[in-house]
């Protein structure tokens, strides 16, 4: 039993696309990398929560591809379409590099139909999709509140950018995250109708349990790109998540990089703790 359909329907072939690094800006422990892509399509339909795969050849010395969240897509008739990624500083990305990209892959965060208050919860570099999501939600008139956790203040993600779009940004240590989350959910000044989260799975489970317990809508990006990712294309199954009745191997299996990565929080609450 599987839990959903492939995010890209068969027949709609995802092909490798060329991209050129045009700018690299420092943002804490990350670089904001801008890539110029030749086609506006399919990037115009890209949403926060989708990701790209950078394939590698054997000559590169690496046997596994790079997988990155899409941190933004901007387009205008003069400069064309630009895709933003947040990459670790130690990757040493340089302007002028030519890349091949597979993507945008997966299913992204859907914005709420009405401009309701929302809470975004993230952990360290896993919070990349929230950076762009905050921008989009603010543009739709949603009051945005952000809760970020990190074991080191340096690992918080591009706070200047987030503070520009969010009504409030709360920072917490990982051990304080559950308490901070409950405070925000119960705070009448925040009162979020929807909770979006992008973080490692244990954090996502905490968010799902706390949010659903208060009858909030919870949507999570269930792919943890901070952990080692093998393929990012749904072939290997290293990101599989067991959901359903909980018995090992007998319940449903969710493959976030194929059927997600954004899924309802209910899927995480029903599954066994991994």
């Amino acid at each position: 039993m599987t839990t959903g359909q492939a995010a890209t329907p068969p027949g709609a072939a995802a092909r490798a696309r060329a991209a050129t690094v045009t700018a690299v800006r420092a943002a804490g422990a990350h670089d904001v990398v801008s890539l110029r892509v030749p086609d506006a399509e399919p990037w115009g339909r890209c949403r926060p929560g989708q990701f790209v795969v950078v394939p590698v050849g054997p000559g590169a010395g690496s046997v596994l591809p790079e997988v990155h969240w899409v941190a933004g897509v901007h387009g205008d008739p003069v400069h064309g379409t630009t895709v933003e990624l947040l990459l670790p500083v130690d990757r040493g990305t340089e302007p002028g590099e030519e890349w091949r990209l597979l993507g945008p892959m997966g299913r992204g965060f859907a914005p709420p139909a009405q401009p309701v208050p929302v809470l975004l919860v993230g952990h360290e570099g896993g919070a990349v999709p929230l950076r762009w999501l905050a921008e989009q939600l603010r543009d739709r008139g949603c009051p945005v509140h952000v809760l970020l956790s990190a074991s080191d203040p340096e690992l918080h993600l591009d706070l200047v950018h987030l503070r520009r779009y969010a009504r409030s940004v709360v920072l917490a240590l990982p051990e304080d995250l559950p308490a901070a989350l409950e405070r925000l959910l119960d705070d009448p000044a925040v009162d979020p109708a929807v909770v979006y989260a992008a973080a490692p799975r244990p954090v996502l489970r905490e968010v799902a349990v706390a949010g659903l317990g208060r009858q909030r809508v919870v949507r999570v990006a269930a792919l943890d790109l901070e952990a080692p990712v093998v393929c990012g294309t749904g072939l290997c199954g290293s990101c599989d998540l067991e959901v359903g009745d909980g018995a090992e191997g007998s319940g449903g299996v969710l493959r976030p990089c194929l059927e997600g990565p954004v899924v309802p929080g209910e899927l995480l609450v029903d599954g066994p703790t991994r």
């Binding site: 039993m1 599987t2 492939a6 890209t8 068969p10 027949g11 709609a12 072939a13 995802a14 092909r15 490798a16 394939p55 590698v56 050849g57 054997p58 000559g59 010395g61 690496s62 046997v63 596994l64 591809p65 597979l102 080692p228 093998v230 393929c231 294309t233 749904g234 072939l235 290997c236 199954g237 290293s238 599989d240 018995a247 090992e248 191997g249 007998s250 319940g251 449903g252 299996v253 493959r255 194929l258």
Partner: protein, 279 residues
């Protein structure tokens, strides 16, 4: 052109990148007694230059393969089932069940995992699988190049009814753990040369050889075909770049159809059969 079991654990993922009409989808590995519904949770222990240390894919139950067969049948695709079993009875039981499925006509081939088997076990297993298979069913014996007496095991496979031999160039690191990647290409080629030479000397009857391991570029596939492979199997190379499948397929077809193609091949290419098996 074949896909490695354990590397492509969900054909829907690969279908997003291009048409699969002439590439049999891989389903499994399937094993009697397994309760798993989907191959998954690939465990990679480490990366190195040109390869990675990973665990074997866990087996799924027959119903998971039937799901893939139904999915393939709805799209006019074919399936190669990767089969594992502790006993020959287990192998036959799974195959018997799959043969009775409504979409059994999508089964283009059955690949039996005999990487850890010795000569006698290869013979017993392939014979039992042949008994349980319909006439004309393609049977592939997956043998480890790194094991002892490759020629003897290949001879047993053919004697047992295998129509092709898959040369797995993965390096065994521990029970259930393997080293895979482009760095295994040399091992695959050595196995290939060994069997091609042995066939020429009539030390085994010869059968089409499928090289599985170290194929991570068009050029490595071309080299394998020139050395005598009738087909290639892609596995972890698709993790690095799934679009490699169509580039390698074109390269292999071009190399096989080249007038200067080597005559050293040990048998007819198994992938040239593209029509479905008659029920």
């Amino acid at each position: 052109m074949w896909l490695g079991a354990g590397a492509v654990t969900d054909p829907r993922a690969l279908a997003r990148f291009g048409p699969l009409l002439d590439v049999p989808l891989v389903a499994g590995p399937v094993e009697a007694g397994s309760r798993r519904t989907r191959v998954g949770r690939t465990v990679v222990h480490g990366l190195g230059v040109g390869g990675l240390d990973h665990e074997d894919a866990r087996s799924v139950r027959a119903s998971a393969v039937e799901d893939v067969m139904a999915w393939a049948a709805a799209r006019g695709l074919t399936v190669c089932v990767a089969l594992r079993g502790r006993t020959t009875g287990d192998l036959a039981a799974v195959l018997d069940r799959l043969r009775r499925h409504a979409d059994a006509d999508v089964l283009q081939a059955v690949e039996v995992d005999l990487r850890a088997a010795d000569e006698q076990e290869v013979l017993r297993s392939m014979s039992r699988v042949r008994e349980a298979s319909p006439r004309g069913q393609h049977l592939l014996a997956r043998l480890s190049v790194a094991g002892p007496d490759l020629v003897g095991r290949a001879r047993s496979a053919v004697a047992g009814g295998a129509t092709a031999v898959v040369l797995a160039a993965q390096v065994p690191l521990a029970p259930g753990r393997w080293w895979s990647g482009p760095s295994t290409a040399a091992l695959g080629l050595s196995g290939l040369r060994q069997l091609v030479e042995a066939a020429r000397e009539q030390r085994w009857p010869g059968a089409p050889l499928v090289i599985a391991g170290g194929i991570h570029s068009e050029e490595s596939a071309r080299v394998a075909v020139r050395e005598g492979a009738a087909a290639v199997q892609l596995g972890t190379g698709l993790w690095a770049d799934p679009t490699l499948l169509w580039r390698v397929r074109d390269a292999v077809l071009e190399e096989l159809s080249a007038p200067t193609a080597t005559p050293a091949r040990a048998g007819r290419a198994p992938h040239t059969r593209t029509t479905r098996r008659e029920p």
